[in-house]
Structure formats: structure tokens, C-alpha cells
């Protein structure tokens, strides 16, 4: 594994360079140990394809998504305005992010506050890299013939109508994509959205991630793929709940592709 090449916007600016795209890492991708692996998988793909990108590093801050979903519009808009100042300061035009919550907020909620950027989800970028021949998978690699099911993140699927990009990537692995009984527009939430990630669930008779993991187990898939660091956490916990962590892996689509391409 070669070392990662991750320039920051500040470094690039100092050298008089402008990246083609900003990689918005997000809080989870920056601080959560599991999500950092997703971040690095994406960086390996970007490095392999020689994508001219940069990150904000310490200048990045929460998009404000969890504050907004929790009802605190003040905190959200403060975060948004500050982030927009930073992004506009670097004249950012295009953003890629591996978090559907950051993606949704940057894409849909920032424009009215003055932050107008082209925002794509990392599955869309990887799809583009493969379709333009910049990234090639030698066969399916290690995932050939495996059963993989995809859990739709709410803010990618229902929230933004993106269902096909991650699925096309899984099909590129020569793997068998199996759908859960609740998928795409009917996909069941992992239980983390709407700021639930940061609080205990209300009284009920089951945890949402356990209910969702049952859907995934029913498919007999050996890999649960997601496109969201929060879904990843919830599904990983769900699999552990059934003591299946040695049989079933929960992986981000970026990790699947990076591993298949032996990056």
C-alpha cells in the first residue's frame, strides 16, 4: 500500500494551484476510526486515477446537518455561513463527499444561503472514473461471485433519488447483487438519521438497526454494502447484535472498489 497523497486547499493555494475537486471528508470520515478507512479507500481511488483534488483539513467544519435535523436552525446556518465563506474563499466549484448527509446539505441547503457548488456523492464520482476508463477493475477481484446486498442511505436514496450509482459499482465487481425486501424507494432507515445517531432511541420494542439487519441477513449476503458512514456504524452494530461479525462484513462501496482494484 503506497502512502496517501492528500493535499490541503491551503497547501495548493500556497503553490498557486487549484484542484479540480474538493473532497469534503465530513466529521465521521475525519474522526470516526471506522469511517476513516472509508475516507482512505476513496483517497486511494482518487490517487490511482490521478484526480487533482484537495481537502480542507483543519479548515473543514461540520456542515450543520445534525443540528438542522435536530431542529436547531441557528447552529445549522452559522455552520453553513462559515463553511460557505471558507469554500468561496478557495473558489471551490465542485465537491465530492462520502457522506450522504454532508452531500444533501451541501447540495440542497447551501445554495439558498449563497453556497452554490456542484456536489456529487463518491459513488457517482467512482462510477464516472470507471466509465471514463480512468479506473479499471481486473475482473471482480476478491468479490467475484460473492453475494452483496446494498443498504440505501435515506439521504442518498429517498432524499436525493440516487439508487443506481452504488448498485452499478457493485455489479462491476462480478458479484451477485441481492436486494433486501425493503430496498430503493422502500428502503428501511438504519436508525441513525435525523440526529438519532447522537441520542438514545425512544422507548420501543426493538432497535431500528436490528430490524434493518434482519432484512440484510434474510438475503444470505456475505457483504452488506453501504454508502454512508452512519449507516455503516448502525449496520455493523446490527451484525454484531446477531453475533455474525465473523461471517458478514459491512463495507462502503468505496472500500469494495478500492479492494477489488487492489489499491
Amino acid at each position: 500500500m503506497s502512502t496517501l497523497h492528500v493535499p490541503t486547499m491551503a497547501e495548493m493555494m500556497a503553490q498557486g494551484q487549484t484542484p479540480d475537486i474538493l473532497f469534503w471528508v465530513g466529521c465521521s470520515g475525519s474522526f470516526d476510526d471506522r469511517a476513516k478507512k472509508i475516507t482512505k479507500a476513496l483517497v486511494r481511488i482518487l490517487n490511482e486515477c490521478k484526480v487533482n483534488f484537495a481537502v480542507l483539513g483543519a479548515e473543514e467544519s461540520c456542515t450543520g446537518d445534525p443540528a438542522k435535523r435536530a431542529g436547531n436552525e441557528f447552529t445549522f446556518q452559522m455552520q453553513a455561513m462559515m463553511n460557505i465563506q471558507v469554500l468561496d474563499g478557495y473558489e471551490v466549484k465542485k465537491i465530492v463527499t462520502a457522506c450522504p448527509h454532508c452531500f444533501n446539505t451541501l447540495k440542497n441547503e447551501y445554495p439558498e444561503l449563497g453556497g452554490k457548488y456542484e456536489v456529487i456523492h463518491h459513488t457517482q464520482l467512482i462510477q464516472e472514473l470507471i466509465n471514463t476508463g480512468k479506473l479499471s477493475l481486473k475482473g471482480g477481484g476478491m468479490f467475484k461471485g460473492k453475494k452483496i446486498t446494498f443498504h440505501d442511505p435515506c439521504y442518498l436514496g429517498r432524499g436525493n433519488d440516487i439508487y443506481e450509482a452504488p448498485r452499478e459499482l457493485i455489479e462491476k465487481l462480478d458479484a451477485e447483487l441481492v436486494e433486501m425486501k425493503r430496498c430503493k424507494t422502500n428502503g428501511l432507515c438504519c436508525g441513525a438519521g435525523g440526529a438519532q445517531m447522537f441520542k438514545e432511541a425512544e422507548k420501543g420494542n426493538k432497535e431500528v438497526n436490528v430490524e434493518r439487519t434482519e432484512d440484510a441477513l434474510e438475503t444470505q449476503a456475505s457483504i452488506i454494502a453501504t454508502g454512508c458512514p452512519f449507516c455503516n456504524t448502525m449496520m455493523t452494530d446490527g451484525v454484531k447484535n446477531f453475533n455474525k461479525e465473523h461471517e458478514i462484513q459491512v463495507l462502503d462501496v468505496a472500500e469494495l472498489i478500492a479492494n477489488a482494484a487492489e489499491l
Binding site: 431542529g71 438519521g193 435525523g194 445517531m197 425512544e202
Partner: protein, 442 residues
């Protein structure tokens, strides 16, 4: 002559009272705040045609969709017959259009009869699903009492209506066979698809006098049911048959993930971030300050309130809601029913006691509890599931905004999360300086 007068009085009173109730509902909906939903008209017509007229979202569940389609098409087409009923009722004629329309008349009535049978089958199937199979979504706590009665009453009214149609046409057919129908002096058959069988087989044994009475019972019964149905609608969840159309036309056309940005907050935040702003400047005179978020129905938009009136309590939202599925108290359907009930309560109070009337109650707390509001994952499953594009999530979010921004009431973990964002720029307690550390870690 007396019959024609009675008929005309019923016609005017029936439609008049319905009109009065429609205006009342309109003014109730307009208790809500303004929101612009008139942009992109072409797209709106398209959504309305697909979702309301074409019932696109119903077909996510094909079996109930087909049954519903049967009743829906029968209901719409049967209204054609109403034209003749009104003409006959006022002028005292009998089947006024039969002679002039000839074969076309036979065709239209036959179609109505076939659809009525489809509606009959569907209605019985719906009653069975509700009361014998007891589908779970029809028996959630919020369905106790009036909502269940309301649903069954509507289905029973449909049954009676269909029976009236066949009593009317069947008895008339039996009369015609004997040359005693008011439609013709000769003996013969109307040739209608279903009643040409129903006539001889069900009504064949009755005397001419009895048949004339039965035919009138069917005819008047049909007319009375139409008026009863019309005037029951404004009090019933069944009002969706009308509001589905405007409600889908005024749909939210944005991506479902996009929440509204509160303009009042934007203005405040801009001031806070503007180094040239005068901290001692008097606030701009904007009239009464708007509440942050929604405590009561008057803080919601008129579209939220129209959503509430459009809800037919089918419970597809609730059956798709991850919180409800896992036993939490939140039910998106209950949010809509509570919003409607509170709106009616407040509006009735204001009508009695004047516009400024407040009853000390509110949608938040008196109808909807904090436990329900905080159980939502904002996953949009309820919005996706609704066959008439109702948005329960918009209301839940506005209630959260009120709780957080006006009352600082929220689960303690969320207070911590919000403090972390404000202080560290992340929902967890990490130093912002460490955000780039992952680059150099192994």
C-alpha cells in the same frame, strides 16, 4: 309535482350546505402561514395527473391499488348518471336521455353497472380487510373510536349506493319486461349489462305495484345517498377524494432530503457574521416577530394544514415508519390526524369567540408529545409512502424547531451534540485542529 319540489329543495339545500362547509374548510386551512407553491406549474400539473388522477403511488401495493381503482373509477363514472337523476328529478321525466341517446345510453348505463359490481366487490374486500383480516395498519392506537367508525360508515354507504342502483335498474327492467315501465309503453328490455339479469332473476316475482315502489325506493335512495355522501365528506377522512387533486398540485417539488431554510434565522445569522453591523441598531420594524418553528397549527403553513385535511388515514406512512415499526410511539398518520383535529378545534373556537381567541391549548404538548417528535429519523419513508403526497416530516421538523429554539427542550445528548458543533465544529468532542490527522495515521 310535489316530488319535483321536494327534489329541488334537496338539491339546493344539499349542495348549498356542502358549499358552506367547503368555505369553512378553506378558511381553516388559511389559518396557516403563507408559502409559495405556485412555481413550476407545468410540473405541478404533471404530478397531479400522475399521482392523483393516475394513482401512481397507490400501485406500490398492487392488490389494494386495484380494489381502490375499481371504487374510484366507478365513483367518477357513476356521477354521469347524476345528470339524468337531476333532470328527471326537476322535470318529473323518467330516464330523460334514453330516447335521444339510444344505443349510447345503453352503453353508458351498462358501463356504470359493470363498474358498480367492481365497486361492490372492492367494498366488500375492504370491509373484510379492515374488520375480519384486521390489517395491522388499520388498528393502531390512533384509529380507535371515530376513525374506525368513519371508515366503515363510508364503506357501508357505498354498499347501500350500489344496492340502490341495482334496485332502481332491476325493478325498472322487471317492469319493462311486463310493458309497465315509465320509460316505454311497450314490453321489452333496457339491455343493461347487469340489470337485464338482475331484473328477471331478483325482481321477476314482484307485482307491478310493488315494482314501481321498489324502483322509486332505488331512485330516491340513490339520490339521498349521493347527498348524504356529499355532506358527510367534509366531516370525514374521505374528503381525500376531492383534496387529493389540489394537494398533489401543491406538492413539494424539491428533493425530499432538502429541508427549508428559515429566513428569519438567515437574517439574524447574517447580522451576527457581519463585522460592519451596528450592535446597538434598533431591530427592523417587521411587524410581529414570527415564532421559531411550530407550537400550534397557526405556526404551520397552509400546505401542512391542507395535508392534514387530505389525509385519508390509510396508514401507509405509519406502516413504513422505522420508529413505528420498532414499537416507538411516533406514528406519522397520528401527526396528520392531530394536526387536523387541533385545526378544527381552534378554528371552531375562533369562529365562536372572535379572531383573537386563544384556548390555551396547542398542537405541541396537548396533541403531540415530545417523545413522538424525537423518535423521527427524518428518513422520508412516510413522505414516500403517501399516495397523495402528504409530508408529515415537515410538521415534525417544525415542532422540533419550536422545542429546541423557543423552549430549549431536547434530549440531553442532543444538547451535548449541539454544543460540540458550536465549539468544535463536529458533533463529537474532538479538537478541530485534529481534523486532518487521519491523513498521517496508519
Amino acid at each position: 309535482m310535489i316530488a319535483a319540489i321536494i327534489f329541488s329543495i334537496m338539491l339546493v339545500a344539499g349542495f348549498g350546505w356542502f358549499g358552506v362547509n367547503i368555505l369553512k374548510i378553506r378558511s381553516n386551512i388559511l389559518l396557516g402561514r403563507d408559502v409559495n407553491r405556485k412555481d413550476r406549474p407545468a410540473e405541478r400539473w404533471r404530478v397531479m395527473t400522475l399521482v392523483a388522477l393516475g394513482q401512481k403511488k397507490m400501485f406500490a401495493r398492487p392488490i389494494p391499488a386495484l380494489l381502490h381503482l375499481g371504487i374510484y373509477v366507478a365513483f367518477v363514472i357513476t356521477q354521469v348518471e347524476l345528470i339524468e337523476i337531476v333532470v328527471d328529478g326537476i322535470t318529473g321525466s323518467h330516464r330523460a336521455f334514453m330516447e335521444s341517446l339510444g344505443g349510447f345510453y345503453t352503453l353508458v348505463i351498462s358501463i356504470i353497472e359493470i363498474l358498480s359490481v367492481a365497486a361492490l366487490i372492492a367494498t366488500i374486500a375492504f370491509l373484510v380487510r379492515r374488520n375480519i383480516l384486521r390489517l395491522r395498519r388499520f388498528h393502531k392506537p390512533e384509529m380507535k373510536g371515530f376513525p374506525t367508525f368513519d371508515a366503515n360508515l363510508i364503506l357501508c354507504m357505498e354498499l347501500i349506493l350500489v344496492f340502490c342502483i341495482f334496485t332502481m335498474n332491476g325493478a325498472d327492467e322487471a317492469l319493462y319486461l311486463q310493458g309497465a315501465s315509465h320509460a316505454s309503453h311497450e314490453a321489452g328490455s333496457f339491455g343493461f349489462a347487469i340489470s337485464s339479469w338482475v331484473g328477471p332473476h331478483i325482481f321477476g316475482g314482484f307485482s307491478v305495484e310493488t315494482l314501481h315502489v321498489l324502483e322509486r325506493v332505488g331512485w330516491w335512495g340513490h339520490w339521498i345517498m349521493v347527498l348524504s355522501f356529499l355532506n358527510y365528506l367534509p366531516y370525514s377522512k374521505h374528503f381525500h377524494i376531492l383534496l387529493a387533486f389540489p394537494n398533489t398540485w401543491y406538492s413539494n417539488l424539491e428533493k425530499k432530503g432538502k429541508f427549508t431554510n428559515m429566513e428569519a434565522v438567515t437574517n439574524e445569522v447574517k447580522l451576527m457574521l457581519d463585522p460592519t453591523a451596528d450592535p446597538f441598531a434598533a431591530p427592523a420594524p417587521e411587524g410581529a416577530p414570527q415564532r421559531f418553528g411550530a407550537k400550534d397549527v397557526t405556526d404551520l403553513t397552509w400546505k401542512n394544514l391542507m395535508d392534514a385535511y387530505t389525509c385519508t388515514e390509510c396508514g401507509r406512512c405509519t406502516s413504513e415508519c422505522p420508529a413505528n415499526i420498532t414499537g416507538k410511539k411516533l406514528s406519522p398518520r397520528k401527526i396528520m390526524m392531530d394536526t387536523r383535529d387541533r385545526m378544527v378545534e381552534l378554528a371552531d373556537g375562533k369562529r365562536k369567540n372572535g379572531k383573537e381567541y386563544e384556548d390555551g391549548k396547542s398542537l405541541m404538548f396537548d396533541y403531540i408529545t415530545e417523545e413522538e417528535v424525537w423518535a423521527c429519523t427524518s428518513c422520508n419513508a412516510c413522505v414516500q409512502a403517501c399516495p397523495v403526497n402528504i409530508d408529515p416530516l415537515a410538521i415534525i421538523v417544525d415542532l422540533r424547531r419550536y422545542l429546541v429554539m423557543e423552549e430549549s427542550k431536547m434530549p440531553t445528548e442532543l444538547t451535548g451534540m449541539l454544543t460540540n458543533i458550536e465549539n468544535n465544529g463536529a458533533p463529537w468532542q474532538f479538537s478541530p485542529a485534529d481534523r486532518g490527522n487521519w491523513i498521517h495515521e496508519d
